[in-house]
Symmetry: C2
Subunit: 303 residues, 2 copies
């Protein structure tokens, strides 16, 4: 466990579900003297201020980060480069910049080249979320009992890494350090692939002829229902995740399609033994998930 | 709603999860004077007797069905033909024969040619189950609030159909009548395909290199976990279902693979609009599932 840090000014760039939840958690744990935010849409930051999630809604990115010792980027990955450029001249000496994006390679590429050498970049990804978005949907407990993955570079300042680690631990998460490339493969497999599959199978049903479509709904309790649940989260969010983490996603999707093709062949050929062998190899994983206490309750996470 | 029937002697051929649950429910609802059973394994029927689920454990199929006005076949589909042949000479005039198998075309083909003309065949499939098996795992409430699909032939005696309908309604199910072919497609899509997919994706993870495999378990909350849950049921059961309902399963699997290939192409090409369109078409289905109240609680069903 890292020491619990204290910041004089924390700037949130983006105050949607994740940003506003972390702001609430930071406030609740007393980790900051002052919390400011900036949002691309002025009404979002105004709402965060109105909700009391932040102390100040800045008009520009530069205003938000000026004097901050911690900057949390909590917007869509496609906006990273612009905000990195906008904040660069205003960042304080020794400030820590972190983020919550779902592709760590893309985050690194979009941020690192634009930030001044005198700040510490510690990319992060809390594996937590709900199907809702916006500052009203956030809550301080979102990160309790969840993992946060940090992907610092080898040369990252140990003190800065300890502070970001301490931040996530203070809001209830466990921290895991990973290489950015490795993070992207792990998430592609555990989160992005399941979502692609779920969206696709529900889409397959959606294109069925009229009668069949209503019966799929009527008899969805046979397994299909669980896929509709996974495919219920924000399509725009997932589109961006799939496109941004494209290489890792296509890699695991390719592996899955090969395996599916082998299962299809075994069914077509009536290869009972081969099919049973494929169905049986899943047991260790399921046991592992239960042993790791990752299946206590139904909880929807984002990518 | 059909009238609640009463039977003097109900014979269960097979007393695993489904058979013993229905026997318990029949007893609880007072639908039979006497309940007998036969099982391929003598210890299974002895256990059902010991549990008080049945009044008598017969030594042969013929002994079990002799004098029965209702025969319920609740064994794996691959055993159907043998029990049909074994029971045929012993079946009483006008007896009703029903089953609980997950492919109605296969059930029909395996049973119809061997049964005498003087009995009424009303194939059925309760869309209910748990991940457990055997007479100890059954319970009378298994069918409450669930669907039971019946696939009678056009010439089926209306009185026999009404009695089987009344039986399922009396144990808490809603009955839907379907063509056998149609049943098999609906179940392939709502139940068999989701299980193939879930088993395959967990299998894909199981073949990952050592480190990655443990991380998949660690971060399974991102969506993967739900697939491990679906893939947790009996592999032997699912192998048989997939092989027995082969034609319908391969048909929906083919459709799914085409759709998945289109999603993969959109990701590879960076086609944001096309990808969003694919992810968005799932919304109506999810809304339908919720409106149809098929997503009140977590409940695992079989195929």
């Amino acid at each position: 466990m890292a020491d619990t840090p204290h910041f004089s000014r924390v700037a949130f760039i983006g105050v949607g579900l994740i940003g506003s939840s972390l702001a609430r958690a930071v406030r609740k744990a007393g980790l900051a003297d002052r919390i400011v935010c900036w949002s691309r849409r002025a009404e979002t930051s105004a709402r965060a201020l109105e909700l009391g999630v932040v102390d100040e809604a800045a008009e520009t990115v530069a205003d938000a980060v000026a004097g901050a010792d911690l900057v949390v980027i909590a917007i869509h990955l496609r906006g990273y480069e612009d905000v990195a450029k906008a904040m660069a001249p205003a960042l304080a000496e020794g400030a820590i910049v972190t983020d919550v994006g779902s592709s760590k390679q893309v985050a690194l590429k979009a941020l690192a080249p634009h930030l001044p050498d005198h700040v510490h970049l510690v990319p992060g990804h809390p594996v937590a979320g709900t199907e809702f978005s916006g500052p009203d949907s956030g809550f301080a407990e979102l990160f309790e009992g969840r993992w946060c993955i940090l992907t610092p570079a080898e040369e990252t300042d140990a003190g800065a890494l300890a502070q970001v680690t301490g931040l996530w631990e203070a809001v209830g998460s466990s921290v895991q350090i990973m290489e950015p490339e490795h993070h992207d493969v792990v998430l592609a497999l555990t989160s992005h692939l399941p979502h692609i599959i779920a969206y696709t199978i529900v889409g397959t049903a959606a294109e069925m002829e009229g009668d069949l479509k209503s019966e799929v709904i009527q008899f969805s309790a046979g397994g299909f229902r669980d896929f509709t649940r996974i495919a219920a989260t924000n399509p725009e969010f997932w589109r961006d995740v799939f496109l941004v983490n494209k290489d890792a996603v296509l890699d695991v999707l390719g592996r899955f399609e090969e395996d599916l093709s082998a299962v299809r062949k075994a069914i077509r050929r009536g290869d009972a033994d081969g099919l049973l062998a494929m169905l049986t190899r899943t047991r260790d994983i399921r046991r592992g998930v239960i042993d790791a206490r990752q299946d206590s309750d139904w909880h929807r996470e984002t990518g």
